[in-house]
Symmetry: C2
């Protein structure tokens, strides 16, 4: 690596936070965060993205012209060729020309991709997947997303729709999923599913500390910090919800190992960042019970993300450098 290597801006746009970073060859030089505040509308969010990026510029005493370009990962269906965010339910966005708008404001090339894609690419190129030819990324958040790397390439699929691993069916005729179908892993292992399971416990007369913890923290959703606090308090419905999620993620992992035989399975997303190995280890144990114990099965690695929060911006920078 040379200090003459170009610097790219990578941005991870989430439903809660915007993180922007200046990245040189996988190394985060400077990063800045802001709240997304999607309730204020797309224009406001784009303004906050611009402001976050400009704070990175300021910290580096730099300007747009010092950077080669930017890539931003958005949470939802994205058209990378036009930079339009087709649908991002967490932001309540439909057909937002994010790429064009940011490019106009910042004055350098802007690329748009999916938030899980950028995280998976970051982990693959500079994180836990470094050195592996085949990797599966499983991102646990409001939903369950993922990405698959085969022979060093992110699998895009025939329609560009590959990686929807949250909708692998793990329980026939099982829980209703946000997608409208039944029994998807997302209906058991996402934060949305965990919250639904806790609400069902409460509705049927059980007790849970989760609503109180949410109120205390001023959260309207089951955030990763709420999950952590409820687990620390030993809240039984939270413990059960997390164990349910881990069991089904273990089955998913085993099935993906049997189908794709990756060298490494990386778990990412906010919850995994916060709970780390404590979340992933039980998943890995269930997976090992369910995948075929043949040919060096003990060499398969199932690990949490190595880059944490930075996976997204780092991967976005990789994508920007490649698209230019």
């Amino acid at each position: 690596m040379s200090t003459k290597d170009p610097i790219f801006i990578g941005v991870d746009l989430g439903g809660t936070n915007i993180e922007a970073a200046a990245v040189r060859n996988g190394e985060v030089l400077v990063s800045k965060k802001k709240k997304t505040r999607p309730e204020k509308g797309a224009d406001s969010v784009i303004g906050r993205i611009e402001a976050t990026v400009r704070r990175v510029f300021d910290k580096m005493d730099a300007a747009s012209s010092d950077f080669e370009g930017l890539c931003i990962g958005a949470p939802g269906a994205v058209d990378p060729s036009t930079g339009i965010v087709r649908a991002a339910p967490n932001l309540d966005w439909k057909d937002v020309p994010l790429g064009e708008e940011l490019q106009r404001r910042l004055g350098f090339p802007v690329f748009v991709d999916n938030d899980v894609n950028i995280g998976v690419v970051g982990e693959y190129v500079h994180g836990a997947g470094r050195g592996a030819l085949d990797m599966v990324g499983i991102w646990v958040g409001t939903g369950i997303g993922g990405g698959i790397v085969v022979n060093g390439q992110l699998v895009k699929g025939f329609r560009g729709a590959a990686g929807e691993i949250g909708h692998v069916v793990v329980q026939p005729h099982g829980r209703r999923c946000g997608c409208g179908r039944q029994g998807c892993v997302e209906a058991y292992a996402s934060k949305t599913a965990m919250m639904a399971m806790i609400e069902e416990t409460i509705e049927s007369g059980g007790e849970s500390a989760v609503p109180e913890i949410m109120a205390r923290k001023g959260k309207r959703r089951l955030t990763s910090s709420v999950v952590e606090a409820a687990l620390e308090a030993g809240d039984p419905p939270m413990v059960e919800a997390v164990e349910t999620a881990q069991f089904y993620l273990g089955l998913l992992t085993a099935s993906l190992v049997n189908v794709l035989d990756p060298q490494i399975i990386v778990f990412g997303g906010g919850l995994v960042e916060r709970l780390g190995e404590a979340f992933v280890a039980p998943v890995a144990r269930t997976a090992a019970e369910y995948y075929l114990q043949q040919k060096n099965a003990d060499r398969i690695r199932i690990v949490p993300s190595a880059l944490g929060d930075d996976a997204g911006p780092v991967g976005a920078a990789v994508i920007a450098s490649r698209r230019l």
Copy 2:
């Protein structure tokens, strides 16, 4: 295609039949079949393979020197680099040096691969998958095997163990599978599973025509012809077993579509050859209920093998031509 294109011999070694074919650029010029008779031992089987290949030579009025080489697909774990069949339970083989032995007898280069691999490659290059960049092959037989093509390449995996789609978990804590685990699709959708389900019906006092049909046909196992005859007779346990298999294969297909987004899913193997579209159509209907209905979902094709019996020999010839 020119008549000067080289001719390869492709052989599909099954538990029941050996099929050998002379193949030029995907076209079967001559093919011959013999019974495998694995109970007579590996030496006898290798002799029968040689005899089948020599019948192809005779029919073409040709000799070894008229062919570039041979590839044979064996049912089990194979080491392609040494030509040794590590374990083939259907043949009761362990560590049989099939490649070396055939090469000594036939006097030209012999390559060994897995029987499902050769079928998937045949369908991909010259059959139903022709023209697609991404394909999933699902082979229904004594077990459930498969192969995945991404960006035109058969996915091998980190340990060369990819494609074990029979061991995708479709029912947590479900039926016991031959692999020792529970709830694998193979425990619901293979011919072995169908037979087990019918036996359970009989043991619990139900009636089935299957044992009688097997006796009449002189079969000790549930062969594809027995399944067909029992379906034609409207035998309720057989109908239910096939519907169960189709349901779980539909779930499997949906999950693989969501993960890999292939252009085409091809079903092969003896049962599919025999029942064709009648077997695959209900699988496709269940799959379409379970995969995400986004982005041109109606363009995904779920079809029976186009080459039938010839998929294996044709694919073996492709592999031979590539390895030389």
